[in-house]
């Protein structure tokens, strides 16, 4: 976490840390946007606690919110890398759908747990590879390449299922979604989400891979001149996003006990929204895993509070839009005062 010798470079460049009051210095290190997002989350928890104290402030509800956040959360971690590099991946939802139906076809179910997990991951990585090759070496704009992937992966998923829901019969997989499998009260899905988040954070903040990602997103030409293989880096990033989709598809199979061509509907928008709210720049060059995960939690908590208070979908959608705007405005305000 900490760098013993000197404070992080960007803070040191602006103002010497010693001249700031202690809390400002801490704020500077933790990242203001992340803090303001934590504030939004705290406010939501407060609202939930006031409106539905018994149902909201309940261990089961915490488990529920985190479980529902896991699938889209894993996707968002991958998306954060792609957006940080200045790209976009519109195909994540379609890849989740394709991976989930391929992994739950009758043939795959014969190979049991390992077969399903392996297939989901391989399909995810495979789609990521195609995206990466088209963008990095084919020179296609990420928006177009992944839009094409969105269309064809959804089409393929529909073709494989013929519109049917493929119900999972493998016992070990179904068990993972149930209460008996919770580890110290934590659902296995949430554990996977946590591991992916930690690895994602380390990868982005503590490795050469992460620094290259930021550099490519900040200024691809400068990154190239600095000796970074920009193309290869981009390829790896879409592979990473595809891998995350494969993992998410597996989690979704555990959660819903089935594969369906409609899985992952609108994940691309949710993941992009969560990353942007979290403070990742859509133009690239700046990304934060912590922010993205908080963004996902904000969304899931909102949905949870709405459902607990029995709000109807029209009200939910209006309120969700308003909260997105509010969250971003609050961030702007906090960011500009520092």
């Amino acid at each position: 976490m900490t760098q013993p010798v000197s404070p992080p470079r960007d803070t040191a460049d602006k103002v010497p840390a010693a001249e700031l009051p202690a809390w400002r210095s801490l704020v500077g290190r933790v990242d203001v946007r992340t803090l303001s997002l934590l504030g939004v989350l705290a406010a939501l928890v407060l609202i939930g606690g006031i409106t539905k104290p018994d149902e909201f402030l309940d261990t089961r509800n915490l488990q529920l919110v985190l479980t529902q956040a896991s699938v889209i959360g894993v996707v968002t971690v991958g998306m954060t890398f792609v957006i940080t590099s200045g790209g976009i991946d519109l195909s994540v939802g379609a890849i989740v759908a394709l991976a989930s139906v391929w992994a739950t076809t009758v043939a795959t179910q014969e190979y049991g747990f390992a077969g399903i997990l392996f297939t989901a991951v391989v399909v995810g990585v495979g789609c990521g590879l195609v995206n990466g090759l088209l963008i990095a070496y084919g020179g296609m704009v990420p928006f177009i390449a992944t839009l094409a992937m969105l269309a064809s992966a959804r089409g393929l998923a529909l073709q494989i299922t013929d519109g049917r829901t493929q119900i999972v019969t493998v016992d070990g997989i179904l068990k993972l979604g149930e209460r008996d499998s919770y580890v110290l009260g934590i659902p296995p899905l949430v554990l996977v989400f946590a591991v992916v988040t930690v690895i994602g954070w380390l990868l982005l903040n503590r490795t050469t891979f992460g620094r290259r990602t930021v550099a490519v997103g900040g200024n691809a030409e400068a990154a190239r001149l600095a000796g970074i293989d920009v193309r290869r880096q981009r390829l790896y990033l879409y592979l990473l996003s595809g891998l995350c989709c494969g993992i998410a598809a597996f989690l979704l199979i555990i959660l819903s006990g089935s594969g369906q061509n409609t899985n992952g509907n609108l994940y691309e928008l949710d993941a992009i929204a969560a990353a942007i709210i979290g403070g990742t720049l859509l133009t690239g060059g700046r990304g934060t895993i912590t922010g993205s995960v908080l963004g996902v939690l904000v969304f899931t908590t909102i949905t949870d509070i709405f459902a607990l208070n029995n709000l109807q979908s029209d009200v939910q959608q209006i309120a969700k839009g308003a909260i997105i705007v509010a969250a971003v405005l609050v961030q702007r305000r906090t960011a500009s005062t520092t």
């Binding site: 149930e178 089935s258 061509n261 208070n309």
Partner: protein, 346 residues
Amino acid sequence: MSPHTSRRGLLFGTAAVSAGAFLAGCTSNEVKDDKPAANDQPAAGDKPGKHVTIGFAGPQADHGWLNAINDNAESRAKKYSDVTLEITEGSNDTAAQIGQIETLINKKVDVLVVLPADGKALTQVGLKAMRAGIPVVNLDRVFNTPQAYRCWIGGDNYGMGLNAGHYIGEKLKGKANARVIELAGLDNLELTKQRTQGFDDALKNYPNIKKVARQAADFTVESGQAKMAQLLQAQPEFDALWNHDDDQGVGALRAIQQAGRDDFLMVGGAGALSAFQAIKQDNSVLKATVLYPPTMAASAIDLARALGQGKGVGGLAEYEIPASITLYSAVVDKDNVDRYMPTGFR
């Protein structure tokens, strides 16, 4: 496919998964409570008559119920030696579907059977066919004006809600302060509102019952799981649940199982094979489902053939086929599930 079209594709989304080969063997079950013997009898008499070419245009079968619609139409047409079926590639794109129907008009088919992706948007092409002298059998999603079709046959969404409500009402009759919840379908569809309206109207007959919560899902397994998980958290105690759609019901049942709840009765909707099997096994909260039968497509072929041959419908006194037929949304529970099992779609 964009998320938008995919949602539209779920219009009328009734449950999952279709059953090509399985259904092909055993379609044609007219779902009528009072005429069990008539089940395998085509509506217009079986004697071969004048040859009829029927053009069939439907939406993209990206959902189990729509797949079952196509299967029902195709297999029923095969039963008749005097019928040729010209079936178009299903599409949810209004312009594409209009083009396909115009092609069928130009081919001068004798009768058209149309299940429009969007009834309002396709009204004009229905009118065009009628003016060209080709009678149209409008299947399920209704055109804007009766001038655009000779006969309408479809399901009863209001009746689904009504019958689900009455079934639950009778089950909870003796219970004071009974609480029910509703897991609805896609809220921006008219049919979802009709189903809810029917449900609410039925519950008015039972003053001891109160509907305490309603959440809308998207007709998908994923949304069914997510919304149900939250409903269960929001309502620690209730007595009955009506879920509009057996496909999202797969997800809802999964959420119920994950929450370890079994203290209520669940009624589904549509008539998926998986729901029938669960009802028969009687080892989950799912005790019944309300039908929205895909057999209507087979009946539409019967009607189209009768139209082409200028006949009425067998068993009715009319010389012509009726102007409209609404299918009955029967409640299937453990007592009668065996009878409906062959119509279940995957």
